[in-house]
Amino acid sequence: MFKFLFRTRHPGKVDIADILSWAWLFFGTTMVAIPIAWAILSSFKTEAEVNSFPPSLVPKAAETIELEGQSKPLSVWEWHKEGEESMRVALIRRIGIKATVVDIKNPEQTYQVPISEITQVKGVHFEWKNYTDPLKQFDFVTYIKNTVFVTFVATILTLVLNSMAAFALSKYRFRGKNAIFMLILSTLMLPLSVIMVPAFIVVVGLNLADNLWGVIFATVATPTGVFMLRQYMLTIPDDLIEAARVDAASEFRIYWRVVLPLCAPAIAVLAIFSVIWRWNDFLWPLIVLSSPENYTLQIGLNTFQGQFSVQWHYILAMTVIALLPVTVVFLLLQKYITQGVASSGVK
């Protein structure tokens, strides 16, 4: 491991550039990892721990103990006596700066101690309730369902519609083909931000406002997808299609049974990106959806943080849920994603 990490371009020689490079990589990795790891770890903290300062890294919670003769579980504290060994005690009540504690080993024995002499004992504790509570009390289950629906349907439609268009543009000769292709390409430079107002008006006109289908339909015809698949289909020899025609296959069957399976690698890349895009979408659903039962996870999360900005323990847990699928997809398909970006500049 050590050898691997410190391998240099010229064996046996470490020059300044190597040191600087590794310093940059180390620095960059920390910059990326710390905020994310910190948020994920914090999502397992109890409400009190989330709000405490100075912040701790590991999720911890106050330890409690049930003692004979006490009706409620008591919190465990450490009593630092001057010149003596410290002792574990349980707190019964606290009035002003005086606390009444009970010796854990000897539950009959109670003491009056100044609170400056005691500190609370905390143990590592993962608060799973942060994840289950919002799902029960708030609409997060609905948001997740909506997001899964949008992501799933939009991705299928994206793949089918874009591959059909790409098939037409790569394997047929018809009038206006190049003009249509240029027209589609030119929409690459039309970001949603420029046309969001009239696009919303169109959605209203189609009676799809505040409807998940309004979110889906506006996003499935992507110039990126058409372009990517067309370039890929150009590499499929036309002879193959001619052969299928000789065998009396219908044009639709040729698309579905011959061309599409051969495009699997390109389809897979587009599928990965479509899933990531749709899962992460924010501005367009924000415009189209207005009632909470139709919110997607991203919109729900943003609204939730606006309304309950003190409940960070819930916000962070739901944030982790929102980043989880994308992270899993990335960990599994990292190679294809980075290659897809490097070769075609999608995202």
Partner: protein, 329 residues
Amino acid sequence: MKALIHKVAEGLDRLMRMIEAPTLVLQKKIGIHRMGYVFLAPNMVLFSLFVFLPVGLAIAYAFTGGTNMLIWDRPYVGLENFSRLLNCKNYMEPATCEFDLFWTAIHNTWWYTLLNSIGTLLMALITALVLNRLVRGKAFFRAVFFYPVLLSPVVVGLIWKWFLARNGLLNGFIENLGGERIIFLLEVFWSRFWVVYISIWFHMGFFTLIILAGLQAIPSDIYEAAQVDGTSRWRQFWRLTLPLLMPNLLVVAVLLLIRSVQVFDEAWVLTDGGGPGTANTFIVQFIYQTAFNSEVRLYGLASAASVLMGLVLLILTLAQVWLAKKSEY
């Protein structure tokens, strides 16, 4: 998961068999090559509805006033929306303009675009150069730097909001070092700083990959020849790498400009919608607020602002296409 994929594939197959029959009839009627139109049709319908029609509408709405949504209920006002947006005594002072928020947004966007583009380009270039040097571990570090690109803007906004919170980790560090806690997102300077910083953090990996692809396209025998001539590494960078990479870098720079002008999502989440005050209100946010988030929905004014922004983006895109064409040779 596998069962689900299988089920979906099966369902799609059944659907396709159903679709096949009518297309066959159509095919016999119109001939094989006109089937191209049939395959294009669904996509073009959606394109027309959600892209081409909105472009036309954006221009049409920009010349209308009032608060009605339907275009035929809206009075034609000519260039009034544009002249109101551009009505300004001193363009450097948003307060002297009729729509001061618009000009504040323009100034904010302009500064953001400048800082974000330079920052991202530099960071991505350095990272790509470092990654390109690596003998091993390249895939791992490429993945690390790229990962944030895939996160959603809401997630990025919330993670950083928490990191920068009053009792967040950063303030923990600061207090540990003997400093005072800072409420970062309520101070104008700091909130602006973090919006730019987080944008760089968020999108840098994407541009790193693109520059890295450019670096790897430089033939290695050029360097071998330089090595034989005894050219120093530093000189190799300035005289070979940078000039050979320049077309690629210019394309990346324009791409960065195009994206920066459209800043919205992560800044919106991070700053609770542009705060403190209007310190982080950008143009897209102005359009969004004017059209959807205010008492009177001023579609005409928002469309006029969209058209102006579209023109800027059009110029930048033409520059990018031109540069991309040039860099191919």
